[in-house]
Symmetry: C2
Subunit: 609 residues, 2 copies
């Protein structure tokens, strides 16, 4: 005999054979339940709450669960034999957001999202009240919705059956002014949203419960477009050959986003059909490729894209797999090389509101520099290239397991590897550490040249000089070596880093010059970017990536662009702010300046002279 | 050698071999050019204007064309040999609207359509002005558009190429707040709209030049859904079996509309891609089937449809073949049996504005009755059935060639046939004449019974009695007979007409009773409907279709529903009015009244007693 068990989330009705083990039954039904001990009752990860029925706890449960948990009806699914119909609640999976600027600001975030849940209880049709179904519903909802509501054909087609099934009461999910879904009365199905940051190299996304404002899952993924070129210019070059290639870029990106969405929902045990809105930030080129817009003019002087305004469109138009009537909000960009990601960083850091000079740098494949002068915000984009994200670096990789993420010469070679074990490559923060340390210890000269062992004259020479060797007629520094593999830093790697660092630093210098502000005037320096939190501030100064600032003025804000996208997802007021930022920020086109070339060349040198 | 000839309308570039005859070349290129004489130079129908070049006129042209035509460069295409590149203008095809209420009202109609043409001349991008293409265009257009403009992805994808091709100036076609098309500067391509009236039996449509407000083509077509049932109830019954049948009804209707659109455009030599908006009226059930909405609840007490509000949607969502980004505006309905067609009649007749009592009847497959009391407008719907449109009548047909459209007994049988010749059937106005005349001459009694020849005792008996005969055990009246065919009026036909007449008359009586108004109070009676203009007013009174009114108070207004749809196409203010009408009109549900049955039965009798 089978009994009916309702599982929340995702609010699914399962038919389970009586006598079956609950943990096994859940897993077999595709409910992801993390239980590494395999049902031994030792890992305590399969906790579930049985509501509606009171079940005796097993001896093991009484031993392992707290008094409170026992009182609230929590069990270990692996210890429960299914006997009668009932309701099983899985614990909320909650991700604490690493070091989000939310925390940094210590602000209370308002929850005024574009997606709203409106309950309704309609009077029933009669000969005296013959209003059509949609008229009846819309008139009711408009009392609390402020403004005229609309509905698409597919919802209107469902409406008559739903209303009668539910006796004319239920809940409407409204996105903007459109009713996109109807739920029965009393349903506690989630209302979800997703914030996405489309980087040239990395896609990042956060799944948010829009009833509570809580982030319930965070994840990242390589941008699948990377096979068509590591930086925006090479993507633009690839796509300019015609519509087919533009469509291919778009398709690959959407495929990647759908994978990411699916994984987010899976890990948080949510259904993707409950995602009603997605806010999207990214650099201007990425947003163009997402929308299938021609990006060629971005790369040609005077660098004019197709669209910098915000755009709202049905997710289905791009093939994004959320609720079939769900919406997409593309945030506004400032200029061809200062995209919605920068707007989002400014929004999240409140740079546009504070009245003291502040500097922010968003380090990704492009490096965007923002300088708040106290009166206005200046921005510049720098073609930093993908070195910080591991591209074009011989042993470069993203900040995942196996990556060297920090490095110190004591003079012994000392480094930490993400996840432990032998290193398999170097991520952005490791690269900065390596070059900064090798420069400090005299293995590199100011021009970034790896010296011949004989040339190294510092106290660290004895320990470090033997690691310099020649391969393919170029010098390299050996970091790690065993029988199977090695990890080295090549002269070419250092050149790549210098180009990136030089570009960003030149941007900082030129913005300060434009604003008539010196490094001493700046009250706060914010470093954003997916790997921002791992950078060693001191080394960034040693390297010359940023001017000499007191370390306590330098703060890491993680992926500020994602924070901005989240703010716009949670609060319509923030979305309005974003548009004002995009319209008001003063963008400085560096390539148009006569002093750019000279500044850039000067900034290629290592150090802060 | 081929030369390039621009033909306007439809503004197409043709390549024509030099030496070719212009008329032949145009016809072969698919430009419809009516020339019944086959190029003899006698019918004068192939007049074209050659602009840009001055061409000598042939002797024949000098003889046939007026001084003014010769001066303006008009030629007969059949007399022109193509010699050099140039421009050929075809004459405007203009349809004079039969007896539209526009004329009746003698009002000046304002031209404030939802479709607008906005010219633009943008500043070119530079390092000092890096606004993205869409930002640049939208900011320019918004200066004259009042309000924020949007654009769909497909237009945004075309934008960069178009702007650069045209050196940043051109024209935008805007529907509502969306830019839907871009034309080059100086293009005089038409901006077209279509008004559609979806009747249960007949689809009617008008093609309008939205720059001038002129109707350039009018046409009608049978509703292809007719094979699924003659009236709305049988269509609803057909579709209630499931989605597949609902979709079939919708598909057939859209197919019919597309044929009609194509024919309209062809006859007016316009391209369907230049139609940017369609306004649609129809009864509530037809609008539901058009949208694929469930209509079952329309037929079940308390008769509540899915949607009576107006609805705007992309035409492509229904598969309507106009401009790919063109829009559809479905006008609002009042109740399940008082649809947007009735709203449109009220709008066109200004019944909602005048302060004297007026009665209007829209005679179609359903009969809608409107009574303006001077303070408010009451409406009722009556299940008149399709008798007036020829359905369920043995020799019934629409008012097309071969139909008996009027009838008189002098006592000889006298009738007129549309298009002349022998009759092949009877249309609505003929049916009314027949029954009214046969009643007046005593062939029918008050109950509608065809008397036995021996029972007929009036002075007309000698001429008419021999025409009464028995077939299939029922009596019928023979109108026409030769070796090949005959046309008769059967007892059953008369019953059908009585049901229709009784329903409408009962509606009139009950509305007057509800409002406390007598026939004498009513200052004007308006008869609308596709065949309205052909009804003999006197006979309508004799029959008892309407109460006894002085004939000069009775006016025919033709297809008033179409006029309302046209008003909404031409003037947004009228569209707003329509919504107010739908919200304010007081609908009386006849079936809910205790006095309905008795009134209806009484009204079945012929005559005005």
């Amino acid at each position: 005999m089978k009994v009916s068990v309702r599982v929340i989330p995702p609010d699914r009705e399962l038919k389970i054979k009586t006598g079956d083990n609950l943990r096994t039954a859940l897993i077999e039904s595709g409910i992801p339940l993390d239980s590494p001990c395999g049902g031994q009752g030792t890992c305590l990860k399969c906790k579930v709450q049985l509501t509606g029925v009171s079940r005796k706890h097993t001896e093991l449960e009484r031993e392992k669960l707290s008094r409170k948990e026992l009182d609230e009806g929590w069990h270990l699914a692996c210890q429960v034999k299914v006997e009668e119909p009932g309701e099983v609640r899985l614990p909320e999976v909650e991700v604490s957001r690493a070091k989000a600027s939310f925390g940094l600001l210590g602000e209370e975030i308002s929850l005024r999202p574009n997606v709203r849940r409106l309950r309704f209880e309609l009077s029933k049709p009669s000969i005296k009240d013959q209003r059509a179904d949609w008229n009846r519903l819309a008139e009711y909802l408009e009392k609390s919705a402020a403004g005229r509501l609309s509905a698409g054909l597919s919802l209107l087609r469902e409406l008559p059956t739903r209303l009668r099934e539910w006796n004319f009461s239920g809940q409407a999910v409204v996105v903007g002014n459109e009713v996109v879904e109807l739920d029965p009365r009393g349903s506690d199905s989630d209302i979800l949203g997703v914030a996405i940051d489309i980087g040239t190299t990395t896609l990042a996304a956060a799944l948010v419960n829009l009833d509570t404002g809580k982030v319930v899952a965070l994840d990242a993924e390589l941008n699948p477009q990377i096979v068509f070129g590591a930086d925006v210019i090479s993507r633009i070059m690839y796509a300019q050959d015609g519509t087919a290639k533009r469509e291919k870029l778009q398709r690959e990106l959407v495929k990647g986003l759908n994978q990411l969405l699916l994984r987010l929902c899976h890990s948080a045990r949510r259904e993707k059909e409950r995602v009603f809105e997605v806010t999207v930030v990214g650099n201007t080129t990425m947003l163009h490729t997402l929308l299938g817009l021609e990006a060629r003019n971005i790369a040609l002087a005077p660098y004019v894209g197709g669209l910098n305004r915000p755009l709202d469109l049905p997710a289905i138009e791009l093939g994004l797999q959320i609720h079939p009537r769900g919406k997409l909000h593309i945030m506004p960009s400032i200029a061809s090389f200062v995209g919605a990601d920068t707007v989002a960083v400014i929004l999240a850091t409140r740079m546009h509101q504070r009245r003291v000079p502040r500097l922010a740098i968003d380090i990704g494949t492009n490096g965007e520099v923002m300088l708040a002068t106290g009166k206005e915000v200046l921005t510049a984009s720098t073609a930093a290239g993908p070195a910080f994200e591991g591209s074009r670096i011989r042993y470069g990789m993203r900040a995942v397991k196996g990556a060297i993420s920090s490095f110190q010469a004591t003079p012994e070679v000392n480094y930490s590897v993400i996840g432990g074990g032998a290193p398999s490559g170097i991520c952005g923060s490791g690269l900065i550490d390596l070059v900064a340390e090798l420069y400090r210890t005299g293995v590199l000269d100011q021009k970034g040249r790896i010296l011949r062992p004989a040339e190294i004259s510092t106290p660290w020479a004895e320990a470090l000089a033997p690691r310099v060797r020649i391969r393919d007629e170029a010098r390299e520094f050996v970091i790690f070596r065993d029988e199977d593999r090695e990890v080295t830093l090549t002269q070419q790697d250092i050149r790549e880093l210098q180009l990136a660092k030089g570009a960003i630093r030149a941007g900082v210098e030129l913005l300060m010059k434009e604003a008539g502000i010196s490094a001493d005037d700046i009250q706060e320096v914010l470093l954003a970017g997916v790997f921002g939190n791992y950078i060693n501030r001191e080394r960034a100064v040693v390297l010359g990536l940023i001017p000499v600032f007191p370390l306590e003025k330098i703060h890491f804000i993680g992926n500020g662009a994602m924070d901005g996208a989240l703010l716009a997802l949670l609060d319509m007021e923030e979305r309005d702010q974003a548009e004002k930022i995009a319209a008001r920020v003063h963008h400085i086109e560096l390539s148009g300046r006569p002093d750019f070339e000279e500044t850039f060349l000067r900034c290629l040198s290592l150090g802060n002279k």
